[in-house]
Symmetry: C2
Subunit: 185 residues, 2 copies
Amino acid sequence: MPRSTQTDLAVLAALSIEPMTGYALRDAIRVHLGAFWSESFGQIYPALARLRADGLVAADEGDRSGSNVHSLTAAGRARLVELMREPPAATPPRNGMLLRLFFGSVLGAAACRELVSDARAQATAMLDHLADARRATEAEPAHLLQRPYWLMTISAGEHSARAAIAWADETLETLAKLDRDDRLG
Amino acid sequence: MPRSTQTDLAVLAALSIEPMTGYALRDAIRVHLGAFWSESFGQIYPALARLRADGLVAADEGDRSGSNVHSLTAAGRARLVELMREPPAATPPRNGMLLRLFFGSVLGAAACRELVSDARAQATAMLDHLADARRATEAEPAHLLQRPYWLMTISAGEHSARAAIAWADETLETLAKLDRDDRLG
DNA sequence: TCCGTCATGTAAATGGTTACATGATTCG
DNA sequence: CGAATCATGTAACCATTTACATGACGGA
């Protein structure tokens, strides 16, 4: 039985916006936090069971039989604040694209171009997705407490994606030159 | 006994530059790939044992008694190319700072400023580290096959860090305004 | 009726870190 | 000699994904 404070934080925080079933929780995390967070069912359901047992969330029957709509209890809200105050745990970096590019001489410039242009495509897709998210968030009422924070995280994604695109363009040029050199010998 | 092709790739790739002990391998990964990759002893030693058993690396006695200097075999080099060609596995995102900022209304603007300015400090530290790495890499002989690829990964880090700083500055201003609003009403 | 979606959960395998145990070598 | 570093490895734990099993409900 896993005991991840990281997952607890994400679950409690999401439930602080709105009571939800485990299924809806996963969907909400995927849609709204997908750019910087993820949770799987295998994490969410055991986490909900644990939080329920600890009295941090309460489960009400939903409209469908067997569905449990979870909401924060007072203790859950206190625990949420406590977890929020903890410094974010630094996850060890693992970027397979950069690892391969670092050892790019093994593959050659042509294969590396594909690697980088794939990364560029991912960044533009992310930018598109963020544009939608920004429109949707800006359509929310201005007095909504969460709105400015949501926009900040969207902006983080935009800065990051634009940087990735700029880097990819610069790098693709360098690789094009290397590729010509490869071919000429 | 874990069987991570990711770790295998990193280990084989590092050994393709230079034969090393497990200890030196971890150090080399930390120093040279630290901005986008990490491996712990608990991964490296079992991986080396496995690769040795599969005939992908060979172990020679080092100068110290009990130390094993590992080098790639021909089969190991073939395996390296094979792993390099595999598309990089996308690691699910987990950014604790952005998670907390998304739910920033729970903490309030003041606490969020600390979160963001910590992130800014990390980015400037990264930029400093990358400046050193760039100097060292540019000092390598220009004909060194790996040099341009190393510079590309350094540039990726620089773009990413500069974007993080620009975002942090923009966000700190927004948070300062929110903080004033919090205090006034 | 049958399919897609909503919904809950479990089991197994994987991936990974951390802490520990052990000992050689080097340098002050 | 004692401390720091080099070096190898294991064991325990934690986190996480994937695949699977199960079933209700709504609509074509």
